[in-house]
Subunit: 330 residues, 2 copies
DNA sequence: GCAGCTGTGGAAACCGCTTTCCGGGAGGTC
DNA sequence: GACCTCCCGGAAAGCGGTTTCCACAGCTGC
């Protein structure tokens, strides 16, 4: 491995001069030496050792993003948005996936802290477990005490800058739109009770129905993924409209209905949440609540990089999008 | 930021002892001192500075993965497989997305080299541009000269360990299967001519048809994504069966047909390639060639980590999966 | 002609950790 | 009891950069 010292020797200059030429410094270097150094670096194929730079400068140009599952298009979109934003700042990205294990999330924050990354983005729903959340907060606090910056996409539970999707309001708006179509008997494929995102959407939906004087929906809990939606759909009794708390679950529900010969939307209406782009060609087209996922990811990064001390929480509204998977009923 | 020295001082031991206790060493440390150090580290909330460790050890525990586009489920699956494998080795992952710009790919290799990452995974099709490929090879060679390890998922064009999907053979097998259903007039939504993956699949398909004595398919070039498939499908003339060189394009084609009232598979059969999991609920279900994407990602990581010097190329076979999007014709 | 700048190059301290090398004490052997 | 080993603790030399501080021009201005 060729080092700066090799370059300096080859160019016949000091280490300091070589460093100043090659790795941006405030100091000027004369044209002659500058050219000599550049030529030497090029000839030798010098690549700065970033670990050494990070150590010497006390700051790295890496950010960390922690997501639940990269193969879930929801997280892929958020991560992509954040990564694009990072690229515009010249930052590299380290991605960790927890596969929905909150302990992993804590472990990642610790590791990213050890890496002295410039910022950490926690992407995804919080869990309703004060103990876990507390430990995560501790770990984050430790990281921030060392000068780290953090932001979260999800619920404002960590005391850091947060981009918070308006899950309650979005679900409520969806409930109203569906009620306007004449539906009165609803079921909610509600996901796991401890997942705050799932719980919020479910609660917002139910609250809106209550406000409209409609009967309580049937609440069915289960996993937050496609198979969870598939399984939960089997348990629906006697509803004209089913709300799955995310699109991927809704797709599972649609698959379950299709297999059983239940027609959507003729026999039952189905709606989801998120408006995953990959699903835009699904048949029937999914009614959902659109979230600007890429923007949210990018925004979270900006918040994290932002130098101000006060914690900012930005709520992001969802937009109800009615498509073929629901229909007006008598 | 609390350093090892702080811990050592608080515990009343030397730096060396503290290091040995906290960061795995071959050397033993007595129980008393060990406990003192651990307590001090805990009290102070010590987190090792990995940049310093990397520098001192001369080796990092990070690997780099370069993909084209994380929001494309093909890459998400490959990346996820690689990341899971990395996790079992205790490695962290740095992900870069090129958004299909080959220059970006070269730039990432350079950056990851500077980071002294343990291994680099290049995931995705090569481009048929010898100049670009040459520069990428140079950059990789430089990285490897410094002790870096590299592997690729795609074509064996870089002189590094490679997991190579059997694109030609897979497409050929698909062609035969479709011909067996009675199809004779084919169109290929071939993607961009310079993308080797697309070109191989297209060529393998055409070659198999030729071998069967069937007429040449209509070849339609275009972007490698959903919209590319959508647009290309509009140009198909007079074929009973359309092969899109990847699933995402096939979905675009299906959307185009659906909008125009062309029924699949009644009026036209459609097949893709990859067997993207997220699309398993698509209607009609997509006939395709299954690639074990997660395994391939994981395998590429193993190859990269493998210490042997010889370059190994592993071909991965695809499996034809016939589903509703194709039908037998008279 | 001389004090005082400014602009540029180099020596060396330092970033936080690992690891080699050295030394001293405990235990074993004859 | 002398002599060897082991075992374990600490001092210090790196790892590859950055940056402070100093030195030495060459100018400017009066």
């Amino acid at each position: 491995m060729v080092t700066l010292e090799d370059v300096a020797r080859q160019a016949g200059v000091s280490l300091a001069t070589a460093s100043r030429v090659l790795n941006g410094s405030t100091r000027q270097v004369g044209a002659t030496l500058r050219a000599r150094v550049e030529r030497a670096a090029d000839e030798l194929g010098y690549r700065a050792n970033i670990a050494a730079q990070t150590l010497a400068r006390g700051a790295s140009n890496v950010i960390g993003i922690v997501v639940h599952d990269l193969t879930d298009p929801y997280f892929a979109a958020l991560a992509d948005g954040a990564m694009r934003a990072a690229a515009t700042h010249g930052l590299l990205v380290m991605v960790g996936t927890t596969h929905r294990d909150p302990e992993q999330e804590i472990a990642y924050v610790s590791t990213l802290n050890a890496q002295r990354v410039r910022a950490v983005l926690l992407v995804g729903s919080r869990v309703a477990d004060p103990a876990v959340t507390g430990r995560l907060r501790d770990e984050l606090a430790r990281y921030q005490a060392g000068g780290g910056r953090a932001a979260c996409v999800g619920q404002d539970l960590l005391g850091v800058d947060t981009v918070a999707p308006a899950n309650r309001r979005g679900a409520a708006a969806l409930a109203k739109a569906l009620a306007e179509l004449g539906h009165t008997r609803f079921a909610v494929l509600a996901g796991p009770p401890h997942l705050v995102t799932a719980a919020d959407r479910s609660a917002g939906f139910a609250a809106a129905l209550a406000e409209l004087g409609l009967p309580e929906p049937q609440i069915i809990h289960g996993p937050f993924d496609r198979d969870g939606g598939y399984a939960a759909a089997q348990q629906v009794r006697d509803a004209t409209c089913v709300f799955a708390v995310n699109d991927v679950m809704a797709v599972g529900a649609l698959a379950a209905y299709r297999e059983r010969g239940v027609r959507v939307p003729d026999d039952v209406s189905v709606a989801g949440f998120d408006d995953i782009v990959t699903l835009r060609d699904h048949v029937p087209a999914l009614t959902t609540v659109r979230l600007p996922l890429q923007d949210m990811g990018a925004r979270a990064l900006e918040l994290a990089l932002n130098e101000t001390d006060q914690v900012v929480v930005e709520e992001v509204a969802g937009e109800v999008v009615l498509r073929e998977s629901v229909r007006r009923i008598a």
